[in-house]
Subunit: 414 residues, 2 copies
């Protein structure tokens, strides 16, 4: 019997609500997505709730769920997933944070959450922060590593660290060091003090850095602080191989997804040109996926760009990156044989470009390949997907559906 | 940003199965429901299982579920919900029952479960039962209060009361005092004895009451017994405000729904003319809903009438009350701005007019408002709803979906 394969393509935040600016259509309905529509014509469509109807997922829990994990059991915070993606090994007791390079005023009030989406000079800024590692005069180490664009990871290493902190993604108009303990323990207080010190010191180290002097002279926002959020310790999860005997690979630009996929025991590769933004090289990602398909059962391809465009309220940018994903889907369809390979396409959640945030709506999903029940849905969109033969399923249903199609699902009972 | 609101309109038992007498259409398909159809054209339709496919809900668990409660954890019985709706405060240990005024023969065999849907003289009958409170010669107090129409509430107050009793809604042909303990405990036996005594004594007090003498002389059925059912102690549930920071109000005629909404921490108002029957004043209810909308995030409007008509097998009555609900929906649509307010319409369960009981079918639901994915469904009915963009959801999904639309849903993960 032919060995079956599957590719899952995820456009992060690619789905949307109808936009008044698009005459009450969604970006997917307006974008030219010929390849996605060919895939849809050949497949079974449906709606997928990343967690459940109305529940609003972050990208972390959404993608964990799509890979089959029960987030209520596995998820400990975003930090350790980002750290794994950045290649930082967590030791027992380490506390990991996702970080943003951000722009603040002198009193640490946030002016921009992403430092104007800084792309250049980040290596030098990272270098400047290295001397902060043992700078605290206490027994907690700070280990910082930048990942893609404005993103980075911070590990706190030491005894008795607590994730019970009120950190949140930096918000314009709020102070970058406004973190507080969320319980009365000495661990939380101690961790909070160390974190505040890291934040303040990062500002001292970065504010006058030559990279930022240059940015200011060019009228750009300086990356003059590092804001950590999403703390957590190492989660405990079975790999896809342990769970299902599945050999899987991941093609992704952002460290969050790489980290989730490492946790899942997948082969995680770095693709040159995969930036995690709307300028990403989707052709390179598609080619990498096809290479990975040769010796893996499942390839998970994640494109971050649509979410970034949506958070910026950038409708045209979103349409443009959707069209790039469409080209990538076209490339995949040219090179895979649907008799041997199933191709699934979905968003990990809806990001409303109007509201500039995630919402709890279901996303459209299509699965094409030999054995699926083709339906009459011929275009890939939020509106049409509900008419498909898949009906309405949940994030955690996807992995069993795919595994069943490629013949890797164990029978329950006898 | 505009503050968003929502109205949820529930027609109790409004959905039905196809009826031979209606040429295999349902009452919703035959009734003139222009406003419901306009709402449907502007919205997203779907099917909703109050609990789950095939599961037959009482109105208590159906409406709890629609308000987002996991009934397997919250529900302790119908009695305490009815008591809360009647304004009776349960003390610790109190056992609450829903009651019907009913008609029995001399040997207490039930002739009519609702005493001919008695409407007049109920205050005098309630008064007559007052002297029963300490009448038992034991240390259990009986506290009875009538609510709307033939309905009432009984509290047993004392030490060691047990809800483990075989009570059920009175049934024609069965004895009204046929209650038994369902376990071997002395508590259940003692409670059962007290309850039997209440039932028998109510018959003694009511049978020859002047109100019933008059009813008999007019050829009406006497309300000559009180039949308690649905025992339970005080449930423990978070309010909608504690859960979601939601300020919600309830417009309902029957004490069960008022009680559920009190448990949920909602503002519960009395609307003159809201009778809980097919003669209810739906215009007054619509106007009350619009008033409540001014200072609440969510208004829950419940109309009991269709369920009552269905239990009576009254097809024309059901069509007529559905058309009254349609007028109310029309009034709401005239006065709300769908850019700021979401309007949802559903039934809490199917009541089959042929079978004169609830069934486990899904109900049609439509949600209209700014950001929903409009579909091509243009009429509100059991049959068309399955073609809508909502797919098939569950009762407990409704509150998250609505909360997400009005921007009150917390993100899971980051």
């Amino acid at each position: 019997m032919t060995r079956m394969h599957a590719i899952i393509v995820v456009g992060d935040g690619m789905a949307d609500r109808a936009l008044k600016d698009l005459n009450y259509k969604t970006p997917l309905e307006v974008a030219r997505v010929g390849a996605m529509n060919r895939l849809t014509s050949a497949g079974a469509s449906g709606l997928l709730d990343p967690i459940g109807p109305g529940l609003v997922p972050g990208s972390d829990v959404a993608n964990l769920s799509i890979l089959g994990y029960d987030v209520s059991r596995v998820y400990t915070g975003r930090g350790p997933l980002e750290a794994a993606g950045a290649g930082l090994e967590l030791q027992k007791g380490d506390l990991a944070f996702r970080c943003n390079f951000a722009t603040v005023e002198n009193d640490l009030t946030v002016l921009d959450e992403r430092a104007g989406r800084i792309l250049d000079g980040l290596g030098e800024l990272e270098e400047a922060l290295r001397s902060l590692e043992f700078g605290g005069g206490h027994d907690i180490r700070f280990i910082f590593k930048r990942t893609s664009g404005f993103r980075g990871v911070l590990l706190l290493r030491g005894e008795g660290l607590s994730p019970n902190l009120s950190t949140h993604m930096p918000k314009v108009g709020c102070r970058a060091d406004s973190v507080k303990p969320t319980d009365d323990s000495t661990e939380a207080e101690r961790t909070c003090n160390a974190l505040r010190e890291f934040i303040k010191t990062s500002h001292e180290f970065l504010d006058d850095h030559p990279v930022n002097q240059k940015r200011r002279s060019e009228g750009k926002l300086p990356a003059n602080i590092v804001a950590p959020w999403g703390p957590g310790k190492q989660p405990n999860a079975k790999t896809l191989s342990e769970h299902y005997g599945l050999k899987a690979a991941c093609v992704a630009g952002v460290s969050l997804i790489k980290g989730i996929c490492k946790l899942a025991g997948m082969t995680v590769i770095d693709v040159p040109g995969a930036t995690g933004d709307i300028d990403t090289d989707t052709t390179a990602k598609g080619e990498a996926a096809l290479r990975m398909l040769r010796d893996h059962d499942l390839v998970f391809v994640h494109v971050e760009g649509p979410d970034e465009a949506s958070h910026d309220g950038n409708i045209l940018g979103k349409i443009s990156i959707i069209e790039k994903i469409d080209s990538m889907v076209g490339l995949l369809l040219e090179h895979v044989n649907l008799e041997e390979t199933y191709v699934a396409l979905l968003a990990d959640h809806v990001t409303s470009t109007r509201l500039r945030r995630h919402t709890g709506d279901p996303v459209p999903i299509v699965i094409a390949g030999a054995d699926v029940t083709r339906d009459e849905v011929a275009s890939y969109s939020e509106r049409m997907a509900s008419r498909g033969s898949l009906g309405r399923v949940r994030g955690t249903d996807l992995m069993p559906i795919i595994l069943d199609l490629i013949g890797k699902m164990e029978k329950l009972g006898e």
